[in-house]
């Protein structure tokens, strides 16, 4: 090997070092010369890093500076009475800035160059931050291949911190946005959705079906209360503006117990603040009438409320249905109450009721089923005793702006299932046969797993849209949505208003519905122990839009909203309800199961039995003085 050949690599290396040094020196000189722009760009970059902003936000900030730049240029043109000096104005401002800075007038120097430096600096910062984010996302940035994962984790922490700061600021997160959306909270991160500081859900999404999945203690109730309050507030506003029917919120809380009653009280206060005139708490303070259902529907509902088996037991199910149909549909009309219905489950009564029937078919049916009637009456008597008086009227869904129905799904699953079935049927009948067609209704079923075995909500789900009914199902887990996997997918796939995921250990089936996106995956060459070269290859691969690992690790009060192939991670803003009017003892489950025969439902004593029977002193003189003589 000749000496010349030996010196060649050294020369090349020296040349590369010199070129790198020259580049660094030129960059540093440029950065110093354009010091104001450099400072603004560095500040913008650091701010975006610290807050986890998307580059888009810096671009928008630069765009918002354009009016300032235009005003500055216009002022120069007006002063010079010509547009020509505007071209030289940045250079002259730059010169003036240095002269002023040299003379010690730093503030004046900053003001002189600000109209040019701020937008340019923001633009440069946005470009640099965009480049950094892209490099880390594709795995081409950082010293090691794990740098991109660390960068993502760090940015998530920064984004969460920013979102928490935003929801903590008083008044920063209103319930309704100016654009007519329901603000759920502050956005942490978006994938496939437009990034903005606040997560505003359009009203129409709540008029579509939604699914909410999250384990206990993850902030599910906080999210639901916010969505319900937003639905009512926006619905009432639209109704007042003539843009829609009056909204109606019906909540089936299938958990029951004291906790449900605390939530109900909080919901009432929150909904009242949102504009709801009245919130009915069923069955503690209000009742509904099962007997207002049309006769055919009433028969179906009553039969479905009784649990019956299959196989050989199907025979008894048919007998049961036949007897119930006879009791519900005699010529004298359907029953008006549970007591009325039970009184009809008697061979003598039914025989007398159908004695005048012309064709005799019913009488023949009655004869064949008569030996089962007493057993059927026993089953219904037991059912009605366990159900209480909540379904025995009076009352209807049209009586209030919101209904909060508490079902004892934890302690009495069979009762809760029957109640849920009856309530849904009453609501469906209210829509199809009553004035419910003139309402915009949201049916929210919380803790759906408690009643999912016998409430065929997906049937309602699929035909609900045409009825003007939106269904929002919430469960603690994916399996809690429905007993069968087909039904779970059917419910989730029909949730065209979006899927809300809070922390849950098995989010994969739901996140899969968000689909995948194409992203670059870069391999890096290993140069030695813990050293990687900036050489390698990239390839495109599919990655899930909604990362299940993020959802598994969500903190309390954080939710992922999946909609149309995108996901928005949100820090939910808790709605602060007005304090309770009176610190009353909560009603226990035992008291509630005893029926609504307390409070407003206490039977009014008949005339003459009221406790106050003493004669009153005559106040006629006072009333005559105030209002004139007695008229009657």
């Amino acid at each position: 090997m000749t000496r010349r050949r030996r010196r060649r690599p050294l020369l090349l290396a020296a040349g590369r070092v010199l070129a790198w040094a020259a580049g660094v020196a030129a960059g540093a000189a440029l950065a110093v010369a354009a010091a104001p722009v450099t400072l603004v760009a560095a500040f913008a970059f650091a701010l975006a890093w610290a807050t986890g902003w998307a580059p888009r936000r810096l671009y928008q900030a630069a765009l918002w500076c354009v009016p300032m730049l235009a005003a500055w240029a216009a002022a120069i043109a007006l002063a010079a009475r010509s547009w020509l000096p505007v071209a030289a104005a940045p250079y002259l401002a730059w010169l003036a800035m240095w002269h002023l800075a040299a003379a010690g007038s730093v503030l004046l120097a900053a003001l002189t160059i600000a109209p040019v430096a701020v937008p340019l600096g923001l633009l440069a910062g946005a470009l640099a931050w965009s480049r950094r984010v892209y490099a880390m996302r594709t795995g081409t940035g950082g010293l090691s291949p794990t740098a991109s994962a660390a960068f993502d984790r760090r940015q998530w922490r920064h984004q969460v911190r920013s979102a928490r700061a935003r929801i903590a600021a008083p008044g920063a997160v209103p319930l309704l946005s100016r654009g007519g959306g329901i603000v759920a909270g502050a956005i942490i991160r978006t994938v496939g959705h437009t990034a903005s500081p606040l997560a505003a859900i359009p009203y129409q999404r709540l008029r579509s079906h939604q699914v909410v999945i999250g384990t206990t203690g993850t902030g599910k109730t906080t999210l639901l209360l916010r969505l319900w309050a937003g639905f009512l507030a926006l619905g009432l506003r639209r109704h007042a503006a003539g843009a829609g029917h009056r909204p109606l919120l019906v909540v089936l809380d299938c958990k029951g117990g004291a906790d449900s009653r605390r939530v109900a009280d909080r919901a009432r206060r929150v909904l009242r603040a949102a504009g709801a005139r009245s919130t009915a708490i069923w069955p503690d303070e209000a009742s509904l009438s099962l007997w207002a259902l049309p006769a055919r529907q009433l028969t179906t509902t009553l039969v479905d409320m009784i649990e019956h088996g299959t196989g050989g037991a199907a025979y008894y199910a048919d007998v049961l249905e036949a007897v119930v149909a006879l009791a519900v549909g005699p010529p004298c009309g359907p029953p008006a109450s549970a007591a009325d219905f039970l009184a009809r489950l008697d061979p003598g009564w039914l025989t007398a009721a159908y004695a005048s029937a012309p064709d005799g078919k019913d009488a023949a049916l009655l004869r064949s089923a008569s030996r089962h009637i007493s057993d059927i009456a026993l089953r219904f008597r037991t059912l009605f005793r366990r159900l209480g008086e909540g379904l025995d009227g009076p009352g209807g869904f049209g009586d209030a702006d919101a209904w909060y129905c508490i079902l004892e799904g934890t302690s009495q699953i069979a009762v809760a299932e029957a109640q849920a079935r009856a309530l849904v049927d009453i609501l469906a009948s209210y829509i199809t046969h009553g004035p419910g067609g003139q309402r915009e209704i949201l049916l929210a079923v919380d803790e759906f797993s408690a009643v999912s075995r016998r409430l065929p909500i997906w049937q309602l789900y699929e035909r609900a849209r045409s009825l003007g009914l939106a269904v929002q199902v919430s469960a603690q887990s994916w399996p809690g949505l429905a007993p069968r996997d087909d039904d779970r997918y059917r419910i989730a796939a029909a949730a065209d208003g979006g899927i809300w995921l809070l922390r849950t250990p098995h989010p994969d089936p739901a996140t899969a519905l968000a689909g995948h996106r194409r992203s670059a995956d870069t391999a890096r060459r290993v140069a030695g122990v813990a050293l990687w070269r900036h050489e390698g290859s990239s390839r495109m691969r599919d990655e899930p839009v909604a990362d299940p690992s993020i959802i598994r690790s969500l903190d309390t009060g954080q939710a992922a909203y999946i909609y149309r192939g995108g996901v928005t991670f949100i820090q939910i803003k808790r709605l602060v309800a007005a304090p309770p009017a009176l610190a009353a003892e909560p009603i226990t489950a035992d008291q509630a199961s005893a029926g609504p025969a307390t409070a407003a439902h206490a039977p009014i004593p008949p005339p003459g039995t009221e406790p106050h029977t003493g004669s009153l002193p005559d106040a006629g003189a006072l009333l005559d003085e105030a209002f004139g003589n007695k008229t009657s």
């Binding site: 303070e285 409070a599 407003a600 406790p611 106050h612 029977t613 007695k630």
Partner: protein, 285 residues
């Protein structure tokens, strides 16, 4: 046309100077949701021109808003700042158009009752529907009826009905007899205060909350109320029925100011339909 309150109330920089009459007037307006100017004048015991000046000072202080919401004079209601100054936890809202007639009628009833010598001598207290609703805090049950006002008669006075609590209802329009009777029964059988735990609202064996119910009726509503009282049997003995006082109805379009009946200010005796107080000019300060 609404006369808005200043965006930043003057109270923030310099608290408005209010005398006793202002405070009484502000509290009255706050309790009644909204009051028409002629009724404000009656509350203040002045003429309308003076009342206009007084209410203008309330508006300047940011305590009140006024607007012509319907027939007759302008309506006055308190802003959030005004309600806060009064220490009343009511939501600040504009009187609903659908309730204007009812609000005027109830205010007329209160003014007429407070003008009676027996009321003042006994030191009775009017507890308005707004106060009752505030106690309920949005927990008004579906079939729970709240009276238009309660009159509390303190113990230890010369009045024979001292210690009683009356429910007052102003009836302008006809309901069904069944509905009216149900409301009467509910009022007369209630045992607990409004806002009490639900289980205490109606307890058999306990003395009723309202010893009597006083119904002030328009000519249209009177027959229904009378039939409802007859329908509730023995309870009906505790129902008093009278005509609404003069000036309780919203002025009809076409009536001149001179033809409008004027409400009687407290302490000057009642004004009845057909009395000479419906004349063109009341006493002016």
């Amino acid at each position: 046309m609404t006369t808005p309150a200043p965006a930043s109330p003057a109270t923030a920089a310099s608290p408005a100077r209010l005398d006793e009459r202002d405070i009484a007037g502000l509290l009255f307006v706050a309790e009644m949701y909204g009051v028409q100017l002629d009724q404000v004048a009656a509350v203040l015991g002045t003429g309308e021109s003076r009342a206009r000046a007084v209410t203008a000072s309330w508006r300047r202080a940011g305590y009140a808003q006024s607007a012509r919401l319907g027939p007759g004079g302008p309506w006055l209601w308190l802003t959030r700042a005004g309600l806060a100054a009064c220490g009343l936890p009511f939501p600040a809202t504009t009187p609903a158009l659908s309730r204007l007639a009812h609000l005027r009628a109830v205010t007329s009833v209160r003014l007429a009752l407070e003008a009676a010598s027996g009321y003042r001598a006994a030191g009775a207290f009017w507890r308005s529907e707004r106060r009752l609703r505030a106690r309920m805090g949005g927990r008004v049950g579906l079939r729970e009826h709240i009276p238009d006002g309660e009159v509390h008669w303190p113990d230890g006075t010369a009045a024979a009905w001292a210690g009683e609590c009356w429910a007052v209802e102003a009836e302008l329009t006809r309901k069904t007899v069944a509905r009216t009777a149900a409301i009467m029964r509910e009022i007369l059988t209630r045992t607990g205060d409004y806002g009490c735990p639900a289980a205490q609202a109606r307890v058999p064996g306990q003395p009723p909350r309202h010893e009597r119910a006083v119904y002030l009726c328009s000519p249209a509503a009177r027959p229904v109320v009378t039939r409802a009282r007859d329908a509730i049997g023995a309870l009906g003995a505790r129902v008093e029925i009278r005509d609404l006082p003069a000036g309780a109805e919203l002025p009809r379009a076409g009536l001149s100011r001179a033809e409008l009946p004027r409400p009687s200010p407290p302490g000057t005796g009642p004004s009845r339909a057909g009395s000479s107080r419906a004349g063109p000019a009341g006493p002016r300060p």
